[in-house]
C-alpha cells in the first residue's frame, strides 16, 4: 500500500509541475472533479469561470476506481466528452487511481496546493437518512483549509457515489461463473448430505456452506455470485439437509435463526472476499505501474539529449500500451522529423504519414491532444499527445490506435509518462543552456582578452602614422631631406606593422565556440612555407627554406592536413618574431621533416636566443621580450599566443628549444596526409 501512495504522490507532484501558474503568487488553484454525469459539464463551466475570475489555474481531476473500469459505453462517452470540455476550458487534466474517491481527492488537494474545490450538489446530499456521509462532508473533514463550492445539480443520478452495486457490468456474471457456482454448491450440498449420513452434528454443515460461498467469491467475478450463492446455500441447506428433508419446511425452532445467521455470514464473507480480490488486483496494478514509472524515471534520468529521452519514452509506452508509438521532436518551434517505433520491430505497419504530420503540428501548436478519440481530426490513425510542461511544448508523442482499440486517451499512466518525458526534456534543455552559456562566457572572455591586446597595439602605430603625416602636411617644407625620409620610413613601417596586425585579427575572428574554425585540406608543406616567406621582410636578414631539394623524387614531397591560411600566418608570425629579435644579417631558416604520421615544421634563427627564465612566458598573451638587440619596436604580445592556439587547434603543439650554438628553434607538428592520386 505504501507503494501505491508513493505512486499517487509522484503523479500528483508531476501534475503540479505541469501547472504553469501553480507558483504564481497569490493565485487560486481550482479543482473540479470529472465524472460521467451529464451535469458534470456545468461544474466544469462554473470552475472555469471561477478560475478566470480569480485569475487562478484550473485542474480537472478524474478518480479512476475499480468500478469505473467497467462503466457502460454511454457513460464512458460522456466522461470523455466532459474531459474534452474541461480541456477546452483550459483545465489541466489529471487522472489518479484509487479505490476511495474522497481519499484521492483529499490527497490531490493537499499535494497540488488546491485552494478551491468545486463539487456538484448530488455528491453533497445524503441519499437516505442512513446512507453514507456525503462526499463533501468527508472531504471537508479531510481537508479543512480549502473552500468547497457546491453547484446545484438538478438532474443528478450518477455522480460519484460509494458502493458498487449500481455499477453495471458487475452484476452480469459469465456462464463460467454460474457453472463454478453450481459446481461448488452441489459439492457442498453433497458434502452436507455425506456429513448427515455419517451422523455429524448439524453445526458442522453450516461452515461447509460458508466455505463454499467463500470459494465462490474467490473464483467468480463481481458480487452477484457471492450474494446469490449465499441465498442459494440457505435454500439448499433448508431443502436437502434439514428435517423434513426435500421440503422448504423446517421443524427445528432454531432453524430460522440458523438460516439468518448463515445468510448473513455468507453474504458478508462473500462480499469481503470479492472486495479483497479487487483490492489485490488494484494494488497489483498499482505496484506494476509504480514499477514501470520508476523504471521510466530511472531510464529518463540516465538519458542524455532529447532524442534519447524521447526514445526511452516511446519505448516504455510501447511496452506498456502494447501499441506502436511515433515521436515528433520539437526543433526551434517547429515539428522535427518523425521517428516511428512499431509494435513489432519488423512489423508491417507504416509510420504516420503527411496527414498525420499535420495533426501533430496542430497538436504542437495548440498544445492540445488531437487525432483518434478526440474531437480534433478524430479519423486519424494516431492519438497525438503534446509533450508539454509549463506551457512549453517539447514535441508530440503519437499512439498508434490501429494497435489498441481500447480506451487509451485518458489513461493516467500515459499522461504521467508523457509528463515525466516533458520534465526530463525541460531539465535537459536547461542543462544544455547552462553549458552553452558557460561556453559563451568563456569565448567572450577569450575574445575580449584578444581584442584588448589588439586595440592596445593598434593605437600606437596609428598615433605615429597620423602624427607623422600631420607633421609632413604642416611643416614638411621645414624638414631637411634626411628627417623627411625618416618620417616617411616611420609611416611606411608602422602601416606595414598594422597590416600584419590585421592579418592576426582575422585569425582571431575565426575563433568561434572557443575553438578555431578550421578549413582543413591537404597542402604541400613546401608551397605553404614559400607563400609565408613572401610576406616576411627581413631587415638584412637571410630568410630561406632549409634543405630544399628541387630535383628530389616524389617521395620527399611532404603533405600535411591544415588550414593553409592559418598555418601561413603561424609561419609569418614566427619568422617576423625571429626578424624582430635578432640582429640584421642573421640567418632565419624555415624547414619541415616527417616524423611518423606527423610533419614537423620549424623556424630557427642563430640570434642570441631566449633566456631560460623568459621561456615559460613567451607564449603568454601579453608577453613581450625585453631584448635590447633588436630595434625597440613594440611587439604584438599576441603573436606567439595566437600561433600556439592555431597549432593546438590542428591537434599539435608549438615548442621552443635552443639552437646550437645559439639562437632558438620554434617547432610545431601537423598531421601528415596521404593522398590517393587520381591518374
Amino acid at each position: 500500500m505504501r507503494e501505491i501512495s508513493d505512486t499517487r504522490r509522484r503523479r500528483t507532484s508531476t501534475v503540479m509541475q505541469k501547472d504553469p501558474t501553480a507558483d504564481r503568487a497569490g493565485g487560486e488553484h481550482i479543482l473540479a472533479c470529472l465524472s460521467s454525469s451529464p451535469s458534470n459539464a456545468r461544474i466544469m463551466h462554473t470552475a472555469s469561470r471561477m478560475a478566470a475570475a480569480f485569475r487562478g489555474s484550473f485542474t480537472a481531476l478524474y478518480v479512476q476506481t475499480p468500478g469505473s473500469r467497467n462503466m457502460s459505453a454511454a457513460d464512458r462517452e460522456r466522461l470523455h466528452a466532459n474531459m474534452r470540455l474541461a480541456e477546452h476550458l483550459g483545465a489541466d487534466i489529471s487522472v489518479v487511481d484509487g479505490e476511495d474517491v474522497v481519499e484521492q481527492i483529499a490527497e490531490f488537494v493537499r499535494v497540488s496546493g488546491i485552494t478551491i474545490l468545486v463539487l456538484g450538489r448530488s455528491s453533497t446530499r445524503r441519499r437516505h437518512i442512513w446512507g453514507p456521509q456525503p462526499l463533501s462532508e468527508r472531504i471537508r473533514a479531510l481537508t479543512p483549509d480549502i473552500d468547497v463550492h457546491i453547484i446545484p445539480d438538478p438532474a443528478s443520478d450518477s455522480d460519484y457515489r460509494e458502493g458498487r452495486v449500481h455499477v453495471p457490468g458487475q452484476i452480469l456474471s459469465g456462464v463460467s461463473d454460474l457453472l463454478i457456482m453450481g459446481l461448488i454448491l452441489s459439492l457442498v450440498t453433497f458434502l452436507g448430505s455425506l456429513f448427515l449420513r455419517l451422523h455429524f452434528a448439524e453445526y458442522n454443515i453450516t461452515p461447509v456452506y460458508i466455505l463454499g460461498v467463500l470459494l465462490i467469491s474467490v473464483f467468480t467475478r463481481g458480487y452477484a455470485c457471492s450474494v446469490i450463492s449465499a441465498v442459494l446455500s440457505v435454500v439448499l441447506f433448508n431443502f436437502f439437509l434439514t428435517e423434513p428433508r426435500y421440503t422448504f419446511h423446517a421443524y427445528g425452532s432454531g432453524y430460522p435463526v440458523t438460516f439468518a445467521i448463515l445468510l448473513a455470514t455468507a453474504v458478508i464473507t462473500g462480499t469481503l472476499a470479492a472486495r479483497l480480490k479487487d483490492q489485490i488486483k488494484l494494488s497489483a496494478q498499482a505496484a506494476y505501474r509504480a514499477k514501470i514509472l520508476y523504471d521510466t524515471d530511472q531510464q529518463l534520468g540516465k538519458a542524455r539529449g532529447e532524442e534519447e529521452i524521447l526514445r526511452v519514452t516511446a519505448d516504455q509506452l510501447r511496452k506498456l500500451l502494447g501499441c506502436g508509438i511515433a515521436v515528433y521532436p520539437e526543433q526551434g518551434g517547429r515539428l522535427g522529423d518523425c521517428v516511428y517505433y512499431p509494435l513489432q520491430e519488423d512489423g508491417p505497419r507504416e509510420g504516420p504519414g503527411d496527414r498525420e504530420r499535420e495533426v501533430a503540428a496542430w497538436s504542437l501548436r495548440s498544445r492540445k491532444r488531437a487525432g483518434a478519440s478526440t474531437e480534433v481530426f478524430p479519423d486519424a490513425d494516431f492519438l497525438f499527445l503534446p509533450v508539454v510542461i509549463r506551457g512549453k511544448a517539447f514535441g508530440v508523442i503519437a499512439v498508434d490506435r490501429r494497435d489498441v482499440p481500447v480506451d487509451v486517451p485518458f489513461d493516467s499512466f500515459l499522461l504521467s509518462i508523457v509528463g515525466e518525458c516533458a520534465l526530463a526534456i525541460e531539465n535537459d534543455r536547461n542543462h544544455k543552456e547552462k553549458e552553452e552559456a558557460a561556453v559563451r562566457a568563456r569565448n567572450e572572455q577569450l575574445r575580449a582578452d584578444l581584442l584588448r591586446a589588439i586595440s592596445h597595439d593598434l593605437r600606437t602605430p596609428l598615433t605615429s602614422i597620423s602624427g607623422n603625416a600631420d607633421n609632413l602636411l604642416h611643416g614638411g617644407d621645414l624638414m631637411d631631406a634626411q628627417t623627411r625620409m625618416q618620417v616617411y620610413t616611420d609611416i611606411y613601417e608602422d602601416s606595414q606593422w598594422l597590416i600584419s596586425l590585421v592579418e592576426n585579427l582575422l585569425a582571431v575572428s575565426r575563433i568561434r565556440e572557443g575553438r578555431m574554425e578550421l578549413r582543413l585540406s591537404p597542402q604541400p608543406v613546401e608551397e605553404v612555407m614559400e607563400e609565408a616567406l613572401q610576406h616576411v621582410r627581413g631587415r638584412g636578414h637571410s630568410l630561406r627554406i632549409e634543405g630544399r631539394d628541387p630535383r628530389g623524387d616524389g617521395e620527399t614531397l611532404l603533405l600535411a592536413r591544415m588550414d593553409a591560411k592559418l598555418i601561413i600566418q603561424v609561419i609569418i608570425n614566427l619568422a617576423e618574431n625571429a626578424v624582430k629579435y635578432t640582429p640584421a644579417g642573421t640567418e632565419i631558416l624555415v624547414g619541415a621533416r616527417r616524423r611518423g604520421s606527423e610533419i614537423l615544421l620549424h623556424v630557427s634563427d642563430t640570434g642570441p636566443g631566449i633566456p631560460d627564465e623568459a621561456k615559460p612566458y613567451v607564449f603568454d598573451m601579453f608577453y613581450t621580450g625585453r631584448h635590447s638587440v633588436a630595434d625597440s619596436r613594440r611587439s604584438l604580445g599576441l603573436g606567439l599566443y595566437l600561433c600556439r592556439s592555431i597549432v593546438r587547434a590542428h591537434g599539435g603543439e608549438l615548442t621552443l628549444r635552443d639552437n646550437v650554438p645559439h639562437g632558438c628553434i620554434f617547432e610545431f607538428s601537423l598531421p601528415a596526409e596521404e593522398v590517393i592520386l587520381h591518374e
Binding site: 590585421v502 592579418e503 614559400e530 593522398v675 590517393i676 592520386l677
Partner: protein, 232 residues
C-alpha cells in the same frame, strides 16, 4: 609611344588616387570609373588594355562587371579585393578574371601584376592561334609531338602532368582556380581531385624548376590556384 592603357575601377578616392599616381609615375595611360555601370561603359567605349577592378562597388557586384565584359571581350581583368576571403577571389577568377590583388597591397605588388599581365598580352599577340609549339624561357612544349623539353633536355612527364602543363601553358599569366583545373583534367571537382592536383602540381614543379635561383614557371596561390608565369 605605345602606352598600355589601364581602366581603374575603384570607388574609394584615396585608393584610386594611389593607383593612378603609381600608374602615372610608371608611364601607364589610365582612365577611371567609380561605379560598375560606368566601368562597363568605359570598357566598351575606350577598349582599354587592362582593367583593374575593385570588387566592392556601390552599384553592382564586381563579379557581374566581369561577366558583362567577358560577354564581348577577353581584355585582361585584375581584381582588387578588400576581403581576404578566398571565395570572393575564386568567384571572380571563375567568372573570367585573370589575376587578383588583395588589399592592402604594396605598390610593388601592383606593378608586378601589371607586368605579368602585359607579358601575357604580348604572348597572346605574338603567338598565332593553332600554333603547335609553346615556348616559355627554357621550356618548350611541342603539342604535335606531345613532347616537353627544358633547356633542350626532354622532360619525362606522366600523362596527367603533361595535361596540366598544357593547360597552364595555354593560360600563361592567368591565375587558374583549383576548380577550373580539376574540371579540365578530371571532369569533376571533388576534394580528392583537389588534393591530387596539389600533389601533381608539386611534382611537376619539381621537374620544371631548378631551385631558388632558377626561373619560376609555376606560381602557387595557396587556397586559390596556380598560374604559369611568362619567363623572359
Amino acid at each position: 609611344m605605345n602606352k598600355t592603357r589601364i581602366l581603374v575601377v575603384e570607388d574609394d578616392a584615396p585608393v584610386r588616387s594611389l593607383i593612378t599616381l603609381t600608374l602615372k609615375a610608371h608611364d601607364y595611360a589610365y582612365l577611371t570609373a567609380d561605379t560598375g555601370e560606368s566601368a562597363v561603359l568605359a570598357a566598351a567605349s575606350h577598349n582599354p588594355d587592362i582593367v583593374l577592378l575593385d570588387l566592392g562597388l556601390p552599384d553592382i557586384d564586381g563579379v557581374e562587371v566581369i561577366e558583362r565584359i567577358r560577354s564581348w571581350s577577353n581584355m585582361p581583368v585584375i581584381v582588387i579585393s578588400a576581403r581576404s576571403e578566398d571565395t570572393d577571389k575564386i568567384r571572380a577568377l571563375d567568372a573570367g578574371a585573370d589575376d587578383y590583388l588583395t588589399k592592402p597591397f604594396s605598390v610593388d605588388e601592383l606593378l608586378a601584376r601589371l607586368r605579368v599581365t602585359q607579358r601575357r598580352l604580348a604572348l597572346l599577340e605574338s603567338s598565332a592561334p593553332g600554333e603547335s609549339v609553346f615556348v616559355n624561357g627554357q621550356l618548350r612544349i611541342d603539342y604535335a609531338a606531345g613532347c616537353v623539353t627544358l633547356g633542350g633536355q626532354e622532360l619525362h612527364l606522366t600523362p596527367i602532368e603533361y595535361k596540366l602543363l598544357c593547360l597552364m601553358a595555354r593560360n600563361t599569366g592567368k591565375v587558374l582556380t583549383h576548380t577550373f583545373i580539376t574540371r579540365n583534367i578530371w571532369g569533376t571537382s571533388w576534394d580528392n581531385d583537389i588534393a591530387s592536383l596539389r600533389v601533381f602540381m608539386a611534382t611537376l614543379r619539381r621537374k620544371l624548376e631548378s631551385g631558388p635561383d632558377g626561373p619560376q614557371y609555376i606560381q602557387t596561390h595557396v587556397g586559390v590556384g596556380y598560374r604559369m608565369l611568362k619567363v623572359e
